[in-house]
């Protein structure tokens, strides 16, 4: 006794040889439009950066020179490094507020422990990076084991790290060996050390995103449950993600000291939200799974350029946060509109 009419298979046979069963076709224009909207999250920040550069160039000569590139990259590098770690965390679908504390702690440790002996300085530099990684790993462990939201856990560890920084060096100060700060202004083949660092970062990213870990981080941010069902270790992925963020925060701290030559227990605070903003402007989705470092870099440059513009326009520097906030909103709104249109034209 069968419920299905076996002769219905004839219909299926016809279908298998034909085109039926696929979704309706779209026009070429629609395909182009959707391809464009797809990449909107990267196109929008590019357009913004170009626009800003043009405005900047109209107010100042010599904007599109090597010198300017060197200077701007050096100015943006600390934020860039911090934002790299934040990008990895955002791709995982989390957020890391503790980088504020780590950056402060990093500068403070460098300023008080480097001394004058290059060997000691090098050892401590590695040590700071190691601390960043360990603290990050701890963040990851706490998030997994305590089943708390990353926002809350990293809020707490931010407080703890800031406190530690304040105990070690209560006020801005300390000193760094001249060789170290020289690195901050050195150059090779006409490009400043920061530009070379930028290149290194890009190489790292193009490698990392093709590793299993890179793919796993993006996957876990995209759909955590699916990722865990597929064998991703919940605690492993969090340790890796937040550990990397901690490492980059430590690197940001180290770079910052090459520029400032001093330590500060409160400086890190100024990098937390801008690191998120740079990523978001660059197209990273706060939900996880979408976006890349190139976008974040563009976002970091946009934020830095706004600071330059405010300076050149000789208006109160207080205009910088206003413009940054507006740019952030525009970027997000544009992205959101693009995504809605893209979704609508999806079959």
């Amino acid at each position: 006794m069968s419920i299905v009419d076996p002769t219905s298979r004839a219909g299926i046979a016809i279908a298998n040889s034909g085109a039926a069963g696929t979704t309706p076709r779209r026009s070429r224009a629609a395909i182009w439009k959707s391809a464009l909207l797809d990449r909107a999250s990267l196109i929008i920040p590019c357009v913004m950066l170009v626009a800003l550069l043009l405005v900047y160039a109209s107010l100042r000569d010599g904007v599109f020179t090597l010198d300017e590139l060197n200077l701007d990259t050096a100015a943006a590098m600390t934020l860039l490094l911090a934002a790299t770690g934040q990008t990895i965390v955002l791709l995982r679908g989390g957020i890391d507020l503790s980088i504020g504390g780590m950056i402060s702690l990093g500068t403070v440790l460098a300023a008080t422990r480097f001394g004058t002996d290059p060997g000691q300085a090098a050892a401590w530099a590695f040590g700071i990076v190691a601390i960043g990684g360990l603290v990050g790993a701890l963040n990851g462990i706490l998030i997994t084991v305590l089943r708390l939201q990353p926002f809350l856990v990293t809020l707490a560890t931010w407080s703890i790290l800031s406190g530690a920084a304040m105990i070690i060096l209560p006020t801005d100060g300390g000193a760094l060996p001249s060789g170290w700060t020289m690195f901050g202004v050195s150059s090779w083949l006409g490009l400043s050390s920061s530009v070379w660092l930028l290149a290194l970062l890009l190489v790292f990213w193009f490698w990392f995103k093709r590793t299993r870990l890179g793919i796993a981080i993006r996957a876990t941010g995209s759909n955590e449950r699916s990722a865990f069902l597929s064998g991703v270790s919940p605690i492993g992925i969090n340790i890796a993600t937040y550990g990397l963020s901690g490492i980059f925060a430590a690197l940001a701290a180290l770079y910052l000291t090459t520029q400032t030559g001093a330590g500060s227990p409160t400086i890190g605070k100024d990098y937390i939200l801008p690191s998120v903003a740079a990523a978001v402007i660059g197209g990273i989705s706060l939900f996880g799974g979408r976006g890349g470092l190139v976008g974040t870099m563009i976002g970091a440059f946009i934020l830095t350029l706004i600071g330059n513009l405010v300076f050149v326009l000789e208006v109160s520097s207080y205009w910088q946060p206003i413009v940054s906030g507006i740019i952030l909103l525009i970027a997000v709104l544009a992205s959101s509109i693009a995504e809605k249109s893209a979704r609508r034209s999806l079959s």
Binding site: M1, S2, I3, V4, D5, T7, S8, R9, G11, I12, I14, A15, N16, G18, A20, G21, T22, T23, P24, R26, A30, W207, R210, T211, R212, I215, A216, R218, A219, G221, S222, N223, R225, S226, A227, L229, S230, G231, V232, G289, R290, R344, S345, L346, S347
Partner: protein, 501 residues
């Protein structure tokens, strides 16, 4: 054929609930073995044990003669058992091939993924099992639900498993993909593998299963060869009682009054020129291949996504731009959505809160809620629909699929809307509850409700709907009724160019 998988006296308890109570299961290599049972009978738990996600409290499992005790899903996979669950393990932002080879991507010397090797492996897999055409470089979020289910199957097959477990794998598939999957299962069996097939669709089971095991209340109540048993016996064994019929008696209850009239209704390029009349007292079925406009039709009628054309509700034109404009009491439309867990229910809230979610104003005065009136509404609906829940405060997420669906029905019935849009309401629901829902639909129709009903199961449409409107490529291909309302005719209309309805 040698015995491949043997489970004896498997027991599993969750707190006070016994999910499995000394269940037995024995299957051979080279066969398709169906596992049947109502929801709550223990099938899912048993499968999770085989898949290594859960450990049994008692009993033994042997695989090819040796004890089988995986400590986690990865060990189970390595032993050659690949499950395909209803809940997909796919990641929307990765591509199709990235999903298939996730965590097992071929690596280069510097630990990056070898894209070309991955592509070749994907294409080879697709060719070997004659997969429906899907591009490997597409982002998964682009695929329809059916296509995603197909990729989930690809993911399991990519491990070349000894045992493939398909848990309700066809519930998300259209007729074409279903046929492909059934062929695939038979092919695997012929190649000497074991396919364990869980489904509520007896038709499919008959088509491919060699043997059947039936679970009820956590224990094995029967095991037989498919050709040696009839559907009556199977259903009786599943339910523990005779069920008169799966499909209710169908009496014509349609009046001449048009409840919902569509003229030139369309949704961008996916749906066009729909002229349709849904009458009072009628159950109108919607059929068609996956992705041919059904979902757009239902969602647009409920106000989700834009639409063009005219809509008349009970004779009066109505613009519906959102669910709030659809749910306007007696003259409104109510939708029971496809995705009950993500669109229909607040899983972490109580049955009561879910039931009354759409009608808070019914027990609110001056903005203040009245718990007593709310309880009255809740108790009444639980009783009417026979929703199995300990108390109304029980969390909706803990109910079985069938009862969850009943809660969503109750929620919509409380809105008093007399036009119901039911999108695949019996997907993944056990036979017993399915029958109750079909009966409910006919009872409501008899009371004057107008029901628009989509199902991916053609048999349901044929037996429950008065008429069936078939969509093809976003347009109305045919409206079938009476003798023309048959699975064969529906398929013809859905697939081939025919004369207009």
């Amino acid at each position: 054929m040698t015995e491949l998988l043997n489970a004896t006296a498997i027991t599993k308890r969750y707190g006070g609930i016994t999910a499995l109570s000394r269940a037995d299961f024995s299957a051979r290599a080279g066969e398709v073995h169906a596992l049947l049972g109502e929801n709550g009978a223990g099938k899912s738990t048993f499968i999770q044990i085989l898949a290594g996600a859960v450990r049994p409290d008692g009993g033994t499992v042997t695989l090819a003669g040796s004890p089988y005790r995986p400590r986690n899903p990865q060990e189970a996979q390595q032993s050659g058992i690949s499950p395909v669950f209803q809940e997909l393990s796919l990641v929307p932002d990765l591509t199709v091939e990235e999903n298939i080879w996730f965590r097992r991507e071929p690596l280069s010397a510097i630990r990056t993924v070898r894209a070309r090797a991955m592509r070749e492996a994907t294409l080879e897999l697709f060719a070997r099992h004659k997969f429906p055409p899907i591009r490997p470089d597409q982002e998964l979020r682009r695929l329809t639900l059916a296509e995603r289910q197909v990729i989930e199957i690809a993911k399991a097959l990519s491990r070349d498993p000894q045992v493939l477990i398909l848990d309700e794998a066809t519930s998300a598939l259209g007729p074409q993909e279903t046929e492909w999957l059934l062929g695939l299962a038979k092919g695997l069996a012929e190649a000497g593998r074991l396919v364990i097939y869980i489904s509520h669709r007896l038709g499919e089971v008959r088509q491919i299963a060699d043997r059947i095991t039936v679970f009820r209340n956590g224990a094995t109540v029967a095991a037989y060869d498919t050709h040696a048993v009839d559907d009556e016996t199977i259903i009786t064994d599943m339910l523990g009682r005779r069920m008169d019929r799966l499909y209710p008696e169908r009496k014509s209850t349609a009046s001449q009054t048009v409840a919902l009239g569509l003229r030139g209704f369309g949704v961008d390029h996916r749906l066009a020129d729909i002229d349709l009349d849904l009458r009072e007292g009628e159950v109108l079925g919607i059929a068609g291949m996956q992705g041919h406009g059904q979902r757009e039709l239902f969602q647009a009628l409920f106000g989700i996504g834009g639409s063009r054309g005219t809509v008349e509700v009970w004779g009066k034109p109505k613009t519906i731009r959102g669910p709030r404009q659809a749910l306007t009491g007696r003259d409104g439309l109510a939708l029971v959505p496809e995705d009950r867990r993500n669109h229909g229910l607040l899983l972490s809230k109580s049955v009561r809160e879910n039931l009354t979610l759409s009608v808070i104003q019914r027990f609110t005065r001056f903005g203040i809620t009245d718990p007593k009136r709310e309880s009255a509404l809740v108790d009444e609906m639980i009783a009417t629909l026979k929703i199995k829940t300990g108390t109304p405060e029980q969390l909706a997420g803990t109910l079985s699929g069938g009862n969850q669906q009943k809660v969503i029905f109750g929620k919509m019935l409380l809105t008093e809307a007399r036009i119901l849009l039911l999108y695949d309401p019996t997907r993944g629901i056990d036979v017993g509850t399915k029958g109750e829902i079909f009966q409910l639909m006919r009872d409501l129709a008899a009371k004057g409700y107008a029901i628009l009903f989509y199902s991916s199961d053609l048999a349901e449409l044929v037996h429950v709907a008065d008429r069936v409107a078939v969509l093809r490529n976003g347009r109305l291909a045919a409206i079938l009724e009476g003798e023309d309302n048959s699975e064969r005719q529906i398929l013809r209309a859905a697939l081939i160019e025919t004369r207009a309805a």
